[in-house]
């Protein structure tokens, strides 16, 4: 009889210990970046920020199943942790927060968190909710048409599922069995509107049946559960089996944005209860339990991430503002631009 070590849960999913360490670093970076950004907002140096706090696990978990540089990402404004997983640096994020000329999303034209990064395959997004859903289907159609081995990920909140565009986008993707994954980060509120006033069902995922593809519900605070669901959907997509709708149950810890005060509409005990499942702690605990990190390592990591963020912040703050006259550019392609770039 040979002795066999029981595989770790992440090992069973094909994730190495280093994968886990990298995921944990991402989760932590997102959290600390949010905190730093909020401080900048309170100091009056950042007009507007959108915290992801509470959503880190579902973003990093789903993002980890995507292939950087191959797959296509359509995040929404809440996806501060996801874009890190896609390869954006904290420096790039702060360039957006400070609306600098080199902000890869928009050169300071859009509000922060309106992501876009051509090189990383992050598609430019806007404020109107759910408009990216048909885009995701269209990109997936083009991928299939061009026989590319790429998968499209499309993220949105529970609020987005009420929009007509959401319905139309999922329906098209279902009809053509497109390689696209729809991820709902269900934090049970659209700003102040509770889920019960948004839909008469418990699970957004139940709507997938109406579009002819699977819908799955996962614990959005469990990075591994999110990864597993996404990986499975990703495999399905690559195998030509079509879309999947993944619903991650999660919670937003802070206001909707730096402009919002959620105390007027969310009971404090509800928020406190949710914080007991803080995805950063959940993953930290897992890391310790599986000896992927110890107390010293955790301290060291936190310090290293903090340092990275401070440095990024300072460098971004010093970066040049956009030139006022540049506001007139790029309404249309400039002469050098060609078709379809």
């Amino acid at each position: 009889m040979s002795t066999r070590v029981a595989p770790t849960p992440h090992g069973a999913l094909g994730l190495s210990d280093d994968d886990l360490r990298a995921m944990y670093r991402l989760v932590l970076t997102a959290r600390l970046l949010d905190e730093a950004a909020l401080r900048q907002n309170r100091m009056g140096r950042a007009a507007f920020v959108v915290p992801a706090e509470g959503h880190e696990a579902c973003q990093v978990g789903t993002g980890w199943a995507m292939r950087k540089g191959v797959d296509i990402w359509l995040p929404y404004y809440r996806d501060g942790a996801l874009v890190l997983a896609a390869g954006m640096t904290p420096y790039e994020v702060f360039l957006g927060i400070f609306a600098k000329a080199d902000d890869p999303s928009s050169g300071g034209r859009q509000m922060p968190s309106h992501w876009g990064h051509k090189k990383l395959g992050i598609i430019t997004g806007s404020s109107p909710i759910a408009t990216q859903v048909p885009h995701a289907a269209g990109i997936a159609y083009a991928i299939k048409y061009r026989n590319e081995d790429a998968v499209v990920g499309c993220w949105f909140g529970d609020g987005a599922t009420s929009e007509g565009d959401w319905h139309e986008g999922l329906n098209f993707a279902g009809i053509h069995k497109l390689p696209v994954i729809f991820v709902c980060e269900n934090n049970h509120y659209a700003i102040s509107v509770p889920q019960s006033k948004q839909m008469a069902v418990e699970h957004v995922a139940d709507r997938a049946a109406g579009y002819g593809f699977p819908g799955v519900v996962v614990d959005g605070n469990d990075v591994l559960a999110c990864y597993e669901a996404m990986k499975h959907a990703h495999d399905r997509a690559r195998a030509g089996e079509g879309p999947t709708l993944i619903e991650c149950k999660t919670y937003r810890f802070l206001g909707h944005t730096s402009d919002d005060d959620d105390k007027t509409y969310r009971p404090r005990d509800e928020v406190e209860l949710a914080r007991q499942h803080d995805p950063v702690h959940v993953l930290g605990t897992y890391m310790r339990e599986h000896r992927l990190i110890d107390d010293g390592g955790a301290e060291e990591l936190r310090a290293s991430v903090k340092g990275e963020i401070e440095e990024a912040l300072a460098a971004a703050w010093d970066a040049p503002d956009p030139d006022p006259s540049s506001a007139m550019r790029h309404v249309f392609a400039e002469p050098a631009g060609g078709v379809g770039q």
Binding site: A99, I129, I191, S192, T264, A327
Partner: protein, 329 residues
């Protein structure tokens, strides 16, 4: 008379109307629990009940469509679109449905609906929280479009909009919300839809404007008076559709010089109609070509302060300068 800012005037007028008439219901995103993003309806869900202050799903077309249904069945819905930039998904319901219900039914059905929405820029709203939308809707037969610039007009026009048997788009410039204060009558005064208002009398030239730009023009007119003794008449359009061409033309004929100022993208903007009307009806009364100042033709305005300034800030000086030139032309 009570001194209030624009958003308070809107809140008070809407509150009083709701208290008077329980056919009025308010529906929109975050109007209930949160009392609206601009806090117009704080506490109303408790006061008027959840049935009358309805937090809708995030779906503007459905929101307006549902309101149209209510309007056709005895209610007087006031639909709030959180930001004017997000009204676009409801374009079909507004243009194809609300605006055509009376006409297409040969007068049998009506649609007494008010759609309120905060618009305009200069508040760091970037591309999607700064848009001007009046040009899209003023063109639609069957729809009325108003845009007050003062607290008294806001209250009076909102009351008229609610009393109107037809759909009214009620545009609230966000930058006027708190920045502009003024005396508001304490009674339930009405400002008739379809009437412009001379906000400053003058004799050297006529400046026609609306929305936040109106205040830019008033400010420039006042400085020009102090600096140069030039007398500018400032006409507040207030009601884009129907447009009060009589008041505008009368003023232009008196001063013989006209300029039109608006924040929206210049080309094909609402100001084009005003300029065109003056050109057709009063060209030979004019001593100088009509001057038109509109926003640059870029999508709303960017977020970064230097870029937003390019859109909004050159305006005060530009208006002053062009008034000066026109007066001397």
């Amino acid at each position: 008379m009570t001194e209030k800012n624009v958003v308070t005037a809107i809140r008070d007028a809407l509150h009083d109307e709701m208290a008077e008439d329980d056919r009025i219901v308010l529906l929109g995103e975050d109007v209930g629990n949160r009392g609206g993003v601009f806090r117009v309806s704080v506490g109303w869900m408790e006061e008027f009940g959840e049935q009358r202050v309805i937090d809708t799903p995030l779906a503007e077309s459905g929101l307006v469509g549902v309101a149209i249904g209510m309007a056709m069945h005895g209610l007087l819905p006031v639909a709030e679109i959180q930001f004017a930039d997000f009204i676009h998904p409801a374009f079909d319901q507004i243009v194809s449905e609300a605006a055509r219900i009376r006409y297409r039914s040969n007068g049998a059905f009506g649609c007494p609906l008010v759609i309120r929405t905060p618009c305009g820029g200069g508040i760091h709203g970037a591309l999607y929280h700064s848009q001007s939308i009046e040009a899209f809707y003023a063109h639609v037969p069957g729809l009325k479009v108003v845009m007050p610039s003062t607290p008294a007009d806001a209250a009076g026009l909102l009351r008229s909009a609610i009393a109107d048997p037809d759909p009214v788009l009620f545009l609230e410039h966000k930058k006027t919300y708190r920045a502009i204060t003024g005396e508001v009558p304490d009674d339930r005064h009405l400002v008739p839809i379809g009437s412009a208002d001379i906000k400053r009398q003058g004799s050297d030239l006529t400046c026609v404007s609306y929305g936040y730009s109106l205040h830019t023009c008033l400010d420039a007119a006042s400085r020009l008076h102090d600096d140069e003794g030039i007398s500018v008449e400032v006409v507040d359009v207030r009601s884009l559709a129907p447009l009060d061409t009589a008041t505008i033309l009368d003023s232009v004929r008196r001063t013989s010089k006209a300029m039109v100022v608006y924040e929206d993208n210049r080309t094909y903007g609402a100001g084009a109609e005003i300029v065109a009307t003056i050109a057709e009806e009063a060209m030979f009364d004019l001593d100088a070509p009509i001057v038109r100042i509109g926003g640059p033709d870029i999508p709303a305005m960017p977020f970064a302060t230097p870029l937003e300034h390019l859109y909004m800030e050159p305006e005060p000086d530009q208006v002053y300068q062009r008034m000066l030139e026109l007066a001397h032309a």
